[in-house]
Symmetry: C2
Subunit: 179 residues, 2 copies
């Protein structure tokens, strides 16, 4: 951020009075521009014990696999965002069964909120942001070709819960992979 | 938003190519400025069956009661945000027991993530944003003087769970009060 989005003057970075963190502040109009983490709402769609995954048609990680997920929009609930992403990316109609995972990714200031989605029919097809969409039995999931560490972590836990027939809420943080 | 935060030129509102929602777009540098819901991380601190509440010293709703909660910051996890708010507003040291509630407030584009916090000691005092801080037994909670509908909804469920000795995850939306 270089300019004030309210008046167009240059911003500086400083700790406002009464605050304890540096913010982008406009010295012309005094506006304080807060920046906050974003929510990624997602859904693991399930049909007869298989999981619906999408192969990404967009960067980052184009060509790799994910469950439907994307940035929550202004004016919607987390559940609505998860349903919308599932429709947009996989043209799949699901009923939300429960909140499955809440994972913070502090290094990129995102929080994933992933719901369990029971598909109402085995109908699906690739949306504009997907190259292809496919149902995977747990033993056929392309573990080496998943788009992000948080997708891998969530799916690994999901497959374990699926095998044990008991879905728990998973809460925590997912850190970047070691290099 | 009136000006581009990257180049300072005026922005217009339009649907970018490949998108389906209007965004603030800079026609000078082509930057697209997305706006997304914010996360409010909170904690219900508990000591021997009583709940720690803070009386707000800041607007909105100055003078009314809430559990510690505030906007999650860049670079932290939801749990870290809840612990930080509990320290800042109530100087209370809690151990997070579980994620207790995830409530979307679509009309103001916020998502509350509220954790159950077990106080490590009965020590607390008002932080800079609190007028006073007090432990309330369930039957003494000032129901008519709570700051926001989401605070009332979360506390009402919490007290019910406390009475039944069984804490469940609560997920859903909290709408604005009827007028």
């Amino acid at each position: 951020m270089k300019f004030c989005s309210q008046c167009g003057a240059p911003v500086i970075r400083k700790v406002p009075p009464g605050d304890n963190l540096p913010r982008f502040v406009c010295e012309a109009c005094q506006a304080i521009h807060y920046q906050n983490p974003k929510i990624v709402a997602g859904c693991i769609p399930e049909w007869n014990g298989s999981i619906l995954l999408c192969r990404r048609a967009i960067e980052p990680r184009s060509g790799l696999w994910t469950f439907p997920a994307g940035f929550m929009e202004i004016g919607e609930s987390a559940e609505q965002a998860a349903l919308r992403e599932t429709l947009e990316e996989a043209h799949a109609d699901v009923e939300i069964a429960s909140l499955y995972a809440v994972f913070s990714l502090p290094h990129i200031s995102q929080v994933y909120m992933v719901f369990r989605g029971l598909m109402r029919s085995p109908d699906f097809k690739a949306g504009a942001e997907s190259l292809e969409v496919q149902l995977f039995a747990p033993e056929t999931i392309p573990w080496g070709l998943l788009a992000f560490p948080v997708i891998q972590e969530t799916l690994a836990r999901y497959v374990r819960d699926l095998e044990q027939g008991c879905f728990m809420l998973h809460v925590g943080s997912v850190m970047p992979p070691m290099r």
